[in-house]
Symmetry: C2
Subunit: 172 residues, 2 copies
């Protein structure tokens, strides 16, 4: 009986993810149907934050498949715009992002993942915990400096050791 229940529960968790057509503003904003809006490149923006600190770790993009895999597995998947491929975050580095909570915004053109990161906890290919490791001085903060200020003092890993000679994803 327990085993039957487990099978049923497991089946439900991995069941197909229904993405609904967008039919009205009310459906999109006030409804319970997942009806994401992908842009002209078939992508939706994804904000990823650290479930403990609340810090923004990265802004990624998902295609239909990445969104569905994230929902089914509970591990963050993205579309790599530089490599043009599905990207199971952490597959190379071991720094898998386990999703604690996934949300979608009012017009369903952006998602938010709250994650716990395996290993060192880093999410940035440059070696920092967060991709947002530099501060832009604003308003009265510009009295002291107008250049970028490093908010994370040190890298958590050496990218050359993790990624070897893989191409750098940053595009000019």
């Amino acid at each position: 009986m327990n085993s039957n229940t487990d099978t049923s529960r497991s089946t439900k968790a991995s069941a197909p993810v229904a993405l609904h057509a967008r039919t009205s503003v009310e459906q999109v904003e006030e409804g319970r149907e997942l009806a994401p809006k992908f842009d002209q490149d078939g992508l939706i923006a994804c904000i990823t934050t650290d479930a403990d600190s609340g810090d923004v770790l990265m802004l990624g993009y998902m295609n239909h498949e990445a969104l569905v895999k994230t929902v089914q597995t509970g591990e963050a998947h993205y579309w790599s715009r530089s490599r043009e491929t599905l990207w199971h975050k952490g597959a190379t580095s071991g720094l898998v992002q386990v999703v604690e909570e996934m949300r979608i915004d009012d017009d369903q053109d952006a998602v938010w993942l709250r994650v716990r990161v395996s290993g060192s906890g880093a999410s940035c290919h440059v070696g920092y915990r967060s991709c947002f490791y530099r501060r832009i001085p604003i308003g009265s903060q510009r009295h002291t400096s107008t250049g970028l200020v490093f908010a994370e003092p040190t890298k958590t890993f050496n990218p050359a050791l993790i990624y070897g000679d893989a191409p750098n994803p940053t595009m000019l």
Copy 2:
């Protein structure tokens, strides 16, 4: 003497914001020069979080002018993609976002604002505090529900009273 100092400080805060040309991966990732990458529409994505709770409030977009105004004034400015105009957040609703910290990511194609919101503290035109007021069940959470789950139980204001008959910005 104090008055001279104040003038000098004030001038520095409102001084022109230098946006540098992108010349190398090293400059963009490791440098102190602000060299943002605007997309084919002239926009850069902006994640806005609550400075106290860490909750993501919204994902907006900035053009060159909105980014510069945010840096100079310390109040969030965006580019409204639906109205196609510069958008000083809170100009209509009074819910101004005062920026505590502004960051930029590794490849400088996204910014992050940590803000304190005036008034009721809401940032979503539907009436919720956060635009991300619905949860997408993932993995084992799908045993209970596969539809969206409201994470904020009530709206903080009635949009009809604030925005009147202004067009809804959500696009299908």
